[in-house]
Amino acid sequence: MAEMPTNQDKTKYGGESWEPRIIAFLCYWCSYTGADNAGTARLKYPANVDIIRVMCSGRIDPELITTAFSQGADGVMVCGCHIGDCHYISGNHKTMARMPLLKHTLIELGIEPERFVHEWVSAAEGEKFARLVREVTENVRRLGPLNWPQQMRERGVGHGMDLRPWGESP
């Protein structure tokens, strides 16, 4: 396993010790078990991913993903059961339509498509999960930090805390 970045390093965006911080939403029945499978099989994958387990990928509200980006995630992964395998029969059918739509919107907002990945990972696909995390981490590392809060602050877009009028030097 890659050297574990400390929590402090992870938040020190843009510094030399910057490590991509990726939030992964995994469904309980397939993808989380798949990630577990990767662990049991002692497969190596970067420790940059913070896993959040949800009961079904159809439960992942797009607002959770926009919140993750707005609070400083460099990348977001959404994994669910393959189509036809959903424990709740049709939960992932909703994910299948929502995620491309969200991606389309995020691209319009200037977030690179590589930062938001949506894949199907079954309970047996630990190998696939490990490969996916490696790929996403590498892609995000190449793109550099997203650091949305800082970017918005620099542009003067925030929560009303940095009211620096345009045309006035800081």
Binding site: S70, M96, A97, H104, L109, G110, P165, W166
Partner: protein, 329 residues
């Protein structure tokens, strides 16, 4: 104003005001829509500040004692230093400050400018625009020298802010514009002290349900086959617009209008903002839309959604300043 101040007024007569910031003026007009009841309002209250309908100067307001205004309606977002200054002044002078309209509540249409930089907006407004004739590339200057010194204009902020980003807000009335009949009810409740404790989170003159609850169109429980834009097809009367493929913001929008647009066979544009418990209206709409697409495969779903033109402007039309991401990279 000095003469009016000198006039003795009945003790119970209220003092109300209304101010416009970054807005189109539609909110001021919407208040006039209460019609003959305006006379009732004038019987019950003195208008002490309303730049849209009468001549009031900022100095007059600055001269009022603190908490002089009982109720002040503020419409429009905060976009410039002038608007921020007046917002703070009004907060000081009013007992109850109401954010009136979509712009003051959630940023409104002006806040879509948050997806652009100020430099980009200046470029589009003064330099690169087919309808422009500006060969000398003239731009407004912050300071203009003149015979008696220098004139300065208000500074533009790099973003459109909600009123609640600048000052504490007591109540919010969403809508673009708010529906007059409901506003009247809210004013009466406000005057009668029937509203709950002041809280920025409380939206009045609207309901807690979504527009779909009030919409009269028939739902046939079919999935969306293809997206259409309102100019591309004539919708079938009486049938849910979303099911026909027009992007109707109804499921993700708070009601209060009673489904005005859908009654006229036009898709809801989402002006009342998100429902209770939702911060990001666009994300809520993406969630709703995703569950009713008629796509069996991922490729088909991707093809369908990529046909949606301007998703940001569609899903965040009135709420960019309230959204999670707040702007564009």
């Amino acid at each position: 104003m000095s003469t009016e101040e000198a006039k003795p007024v009945a003790k119970e007569k209220l003092k109300i005001g209304m101010y416009w910031a970054a807005s189109c003026g539609g909110c001021d007009i919407s208040l006039l829509e209460i019609g003959p009841r305006l006379l009732e309002l004038i019987d019950a209250a003195d208008i002490v500040f309303w730049p849209c309908v009468a001549d009031f100067k900022y100095q007059d307001v600055a001269g009022y004692p603190d908490h002089f205004l009982d109720i002040c309606f503020f419409n429009g977002g905060v976009r410039s230093s002038e608007q921020e200054e007046i917002a703070r002044l009004i907060r000081l002078k009013s007992r109850t400050l109401v954010a009136y309209g979509a712009c003051a509540c959630d940023g409104g249409i002006p806040s879509l400018a948050n997806t652009k930089t100020v430099e980009g907006i200046f470029d589009a407004s003064y330099h690169n625009n087919p309808s422009l004739d500006n060969p000398d590339h003239v731009e407004p200057q912050l300071l203009t020298p003149c015979d008696f010194g220098e004139l300065d204009i208000p500074r533009l902020y790099p973003q459109v802010l909600r009123l609640s980003d600048v000052v504490e807000v007591d109540y919010r009335i969403p809508g673009c514009p708010p529906v007059a009949a409901r506003v009247w009810d809210a004013i009466m409740a406000l005057v009668g002290g029937k509203l709950a404790a002041r809280n920025n989170a409380i939206k009045v003159a609207c309901t807690d349900k979504s527009v779909c609850e009030d919409c009269s169109l028939e739902k046939r429980k079919v999935r969306i086959k293809a997206f259409k834009r309102p100019q591309e097809a004539i919708p079938e009367a009486g049938w849910c617009l979303l099911e026909q493929g027009f992007i109707c913001m109804g499921p993700a929008t708070r009601s209060g209008c009673g489904g005005l647009c859908t009654k006229a066979n036009l898709p809801c544009r989402g002006c009342y903002g998100p429902c209770n418990g939702v911060e990001d209206q666009g994300a809520a709409m993406i969630g709703a839309l995703g569950s009713i697409l008629d796509a069996d495969t991922e490729e088909l779903a991707r093809e369908m959604v990529e046909g949606i033109v301007d998703p940001v402007g569609t899903f965040y039309r009135f709420t960019m300043a309230s959204s999670d991401l707040k702007g564009c990279k």
